[in-house]
């Protein structure tokens, strides 16, 4: 079983649309994250959730909203997609906020 799984792996959509990426972890970790990797491979943390509470919210547009129905899931919803949102989005989880991160396989978002 994949430890951290995210869907879809590929997403191609038009500007202005709303889309969601789902993430699930079966490791029993208490903290989950979303990272954005741009075309230069730079990784930037977007959000993290610990016990269903948001503990980090970097300077991302409020068009991005994380939703965590339980500690095993952290979904990412994006409203009014823009060209600059094209990137690979990685979900990750850890036990505690500075522990080893386990990453999902990434979701490549392309906005046309």
């Amino acid at each position: 079983d994949t430890a951290v799984s995210q869907t879809p792996k590929y997403l191609v959509t038009q500007m202005g649309n709303d889309k969601s990426i789902k993430c699930e972890q079966n490791l029993g970790h208490d903290t989950m994250y979303w990272y954005k990797q741009d075309s230069k491979k730079f990784l930037k943390i977007m959000f993290s959730y610990n016990n269903k509470e948001l503990i980090i919210n970097e300077t991302v547009p409020n068009r991005f909203s994380p939703k965590s129905p339980d500690k095993a899931h952290l979904n990412l919803h994006i409203n009014s997609l823009e060209l600059g949102d094209s990137a690979v989005y990685f979900c990750a989880s850890s036990q505690g906020p500075i522990g080893e991160l386990f990453f999902g396989e990434g979701s490549r978002l392309t906005v046309l």
Partner: protein, 114 residues
């Protein structure tokens, strides 16, 4: 907040050459240190980590790293690289109360020529 600096953005080596990738961080307190690897088209995987104890840590695939507290460094090394080591390498730091999560360096793109 802590920051992580990786000095080499692109490195090209021949097979069997020795490798050292630099990583420095800025934070005065206790840190957890990591190196991750991202093979082409894949997700990030842990190479090795340091939490405490012996500052020389060994990871998978023959990689090792040394934590030098006085230099705020955690350099990655491998004595003899292989073509399959071609990948993106990221240094990461977790520090303080953990409110910032892990901070990643900008990555080093390593190309091994056969």
């Amino acid at each position: 907040a802590q920051s992580v600096s990786q000095h080499n953005h692109h490195v090209i080596l021949s097979e069997a050459a020795s490798l050292e990738l630099g990583c420095n961080y800025s934070y005065g307190g206790t840190v957890n240190l990591f190196w991750y690897v991202q093979y082409p088209g894949q997700h990030l995987q842990l190479l090795l980590k340091y939490f405490s104890g012996d500052p020389l840590v060994k990871g998978i695939k023959g990689f090792e790293a040394e934590f030098i507290k006085s230099k705020f460094s955690f350099n990655l090394r491998k004595p003899s690289v292989q073509w399959s080591d071609t990948a993106e390498y990221f240094c990461a730091v977790g520090a303080g109360g953990g409110a910032d999560g892990l901070t990643f360096g900008k990555g080093t793109h390593l190309i091994i020529q056969p």
